[in-house]
Symmetry: D2
Subunit: 337 residues, 4 copies
């Protein structure tokens, strides 16, 4: 943390700031510049609340220097983390593809979707049993019954299951059926939920919040890690911007940014990231080329009758074609599929 | 909903779309334009999932015409809703001011803050007992003990209490001590929580999500209303934009926009909205002039030692001065304070 | 500027950075922190290009401390600047209202608009003779003829004229007819144009770019000031965000932010800021309460036949009513109208 | 265009709207819905200003259906446009790489950069002779001398030249030395400049504005096309969002979006798109996989002494390594390099 004094700050005001800094157990370190005096704060700031420094007379602003996360940072762990889900490992050479419908609607729908996804090479089945929906009048998911269907169908098709948990009290229940918890974008800062999956001992797929910076996203991961669960996979799924041609703006630069700052693996969701099935294949390939460790793609056997997000789901034949293209692309990116 | 056909769509493709529309129980209504054919969908679309229409061959896009909320809309109720909290009514001629510290830290701190807020004219005491914090290493709130302190201090100072609830399972507990639930920005789309306060019978202060459109915000209100709780007050608290001079960008135009679309009252939080105490007074006055029904302002007796958000809290003397200015301003805006 | 070294930076790498810093004529000042070493750069950085520091091995990032503008800053000039346009002064106690049609369409239209604006109390006539339009097929303005009409009608109605200039080579021409140049949002970083009006000796109304930070806006002002023209008035006109309920998001917090950083006056454009006539009155009042030095409002005698931006223009009777409300509001905000 | 009437609109108000629509030479087409009446406008709307419809009593809103551009649209031309620059064609199977320094600084610097770029396989030399800089105190470019150096060095290294033109009056001058004009992000809506390059007969590289939607970008292209110059190549270079980990957010989904809407080729600038050399290689590969027709990359022989944007320039050896990776990647994406 660097405190920047106002140009007209008095010596007295500077002394007050230095006194407060020392009271916190930190050492102030003064640099007299041409136009400003700045005070560097040396010491461990974990858990300290330093925002008040900006309210002291004579202070212009306080500038943080360090990222606020620790366990998620490369400072703590240099080598990439690999997260095992069923038979596959996310974060290694192998590309991992999670695929399936937005929502679990029926056994027939799920089995049809899962069979074609597995046949095309997807390793993990996705599908929502609890659906956070913008409208209270929309389909809210099959809940427990949906979880059971996921587990059954996954077993039948030889896949693992990733599914969303939206309430802390459902973590135990979901964990009985799923191989990996999904924390949705809307819950990225649902701290009670993050702590609860942090106490669980299953991998977590942590989606980026719609308007979360990479730093806030890594802080959300830190909540999970700090409870003792180190099996966290990040998922870029688009951020909110002014552009309306796509539902969200898929921020693929988050892939190299996360890889520069953190040891955690990162996958990409081109379905929510664009909101239109037309753009899913192009962005899937781009994600792989950007260095993503995997993809999570919506596939529906019959999008015409999907109860949610039909416009961004791939039909099975389009998914199969995409997987064929990824088979060619992966080796050119130093990956295998 | 308007379906726009692609310029090269075939008659067959148009027939397919019309068939699907009829299958949903809606009437298709065709307009042949110069460059495009569009199909209007007539009928009640509540609960229908129409996104799949965009995946049909020959369809260019589907454009919604109606706002998706009903109970929150002026279509349903023209006259403004008034929400009573303790002795005051939000949404009437009187300006309502909620003030207090960001977090409840101790009885001494809370009593000191509340006394000065009440003396300056604030009617409702704010203060967090459960704090959703970006960092797991930050102060997380006094929980139950904080709630008790709020209730005691409010009684002592003749105020009502608004405080945040962050988990569905705490709604009953918080309701024992608070006069009004606050749903924070991060939980605006925590639908389980929205439903739970919707089943409670106390007023709800619903903050706008950091990247929520006004439409999504009103849909979140709809979740509460649709469970039978009509006592909802909206709170604009800044949205996330590219600008970094302020923590958020306070969107005061949301005040007239909400008033044009909904019957629900709206208040403004200039503290979170700007993130800097320096800008709180200017934006408080602007909010009142824009037509807000009230304000919620952070006041701390000693921001230097605040455990959270110290940089945006007003010291009591600055709050008193602001209230004096609002006393002058309110009548010029057709309000009384 | 603060250079933050990576945690694993070598002593050698730090020496290299310090050597480069000294080569630039600056003094490096090292602070050894617990987790990072930071190097403060002391000296005059005007005109230096320091971005390359981030490419040096062992450097994590470089953090600027000072605002990059000088002449526009309060460091250079503490007292507020007042800019005289015709008979009025912008930046003093008096609120200044600029009003008129978006585009000059005909003498009849302009005279009708100007007469009603003047009668309602507006002091400066606005109206575009050169129109930067998103579509090449839209009306592009009356050019020279429009300028002449503006000058004639202003004289007849006792007003001054502010009008947009969009090309450097038109600065002289526009200056012959206008009392104040307007630089539009799209041209905020048209540096050739900024320099040209900087060389002129007439006041400049500098609109904020659609996605410009306050800092970039003040840098644009710096271009004008650095050419010797100190008569610059800033104009907040809305920024681009994800919200679509309004055309732009009017960032009223820019008013106190600018006043904290700069001595230049600031006015607000609620017409472009919201894009809808319905919201213009509320946001005009909010702007005055936030501390703006004036307003610029679109008024059209007959918006039905306006050739541009009809949806955000006030009809004369609505403008008159707004001015009456401002007459009541201004004194409550320490202003007179 | 669809006009949506308010729920309480009178028959009289509807008649007025229909009358106005007919006055414009359009046919109104009424659809009576359950909750709203909507009026479709049939006919050619080119050049009409329809915004005023929203100001008519009883009108809730007006919703455009068609994209406002024509010549840039796939409606007008289905097959992809190919733009020839020197020996290469942009928009065909071949990937085109433009590379070079941000600014032309000296013959030595330019020749060194160009030689290494050409040796690595770049076909077009980039470099700015006129630099639009945020600060008036920054290096503004070598102007005419820079243009001459570009032409000489390009000849010597067997490359073509793309360089930015920032003023309409320089179009002729720049055209004497360059093979392709670059319109920078800040000038994307400098309509005078667009028209001028539209009258020239050389290819134009049109960068996307920092906060431009894809639609506005295509409208800017329309300005050039409508003057008769059909050789336009679009360049995605990052948009402004809330994320600060990168200078801009590179919107790679713009590649498939543009390809769905327009016949114009599109290239990507990962240097400005991310602002950090560390992320340039990952995003270059992602751009190619997303389907981009080419790249424009900043390469500097010695970024430590670059006078602008040093932090985003690749050193020659890193560029060479990137080109080797692209040699492998291109065939896997159906391209050749």
């Amino acid at each position: 943390m660097i405190v920047v004094m106002a140009p007209n700050a008095t010596a007295q005001q500077r002394e007050t700031v230095m006194g407060k800094v020392k009271d916190l157990g930190l050492q102030p370190h003064v640099i007299e510049g041409v136009a400003r005096t700045v005070i560097g704060l040396v010491g461990d700031k974990t858990g300290l609340s330093l925002g008040f420094l900006e309210t002291l007379p004579g202070v212009e602003k306080a500038v943080p220097i360090m990222a606020p996360y620790k366990l998620a940072s490369k400072d703590t762990k240099q080598e990439p983390t690999r997260v095992r889900v069923g038979d596959v490992e996310i974060g290694g050479e192998q590309l991992v593809v999670m695929a399936g419908p937005c929502a679990v609607e029926s056994e027939e729908q799920l089995l049809s979707a899962a069979s074609s996804c597995a046949a095309a090479g997807a390793q993990i089945l996705r599908g929502g049993a609890f659906k956070p929906r913008t409208s209270p009048y929309s389909f809210q998911g099959l809940a427990d019954h949906g979880l059971k269907l996921l587990a059954e169908v996954a077993k039948e098709t030889g896949m693992s299951v990733v599914t969303e948990v939206i309430r802390a009290e459902d973590v135990e229940l979901v964990g009985r059926y799923a191989d990996m918890y999904q924390i949705g974008a809307r819950n990225m800062q649902n701290f009670a939920l993050l702590k609860e999956v942090g106490r669980a001992r299953k991998p977590v797929l942590l989606k980026r919040g719609l308007s979360a910076t990479v730093e806030e996203w890594l802080m959300a991961a830190e909540y999970i890690l700090s409870e003792g669960n180190y099996q966290v996979v990040l998922c870029e799924r688009g951020i909110r911007t002014f552009e309306t041609a796509t539902r969200n703006t898929l921020d693929l630069s988050a892939v190299p940014v996360v890889q520069a700052q953190s040891h955690l693996p990162i996958v990409v969701d081109p379905s929510h990231g664009t909101g239109h099935w037309r753009y899913v294949a192009a962005m899937s390939k781009a994600a792989v080329a950007a260095g993503a460790d995997g993809l999570i793609v919506e596939v529906h056997p019959d999008p015409d009758s999907a109860v949610s997000d039909g416009s961004q789901s791939l039909r099975p034949e389009k998914f199969r074609k995409l997987m064929e293209q990824l088979q060619v692309l992966a080796p050119a990116c130093g990956r295998r599929l």
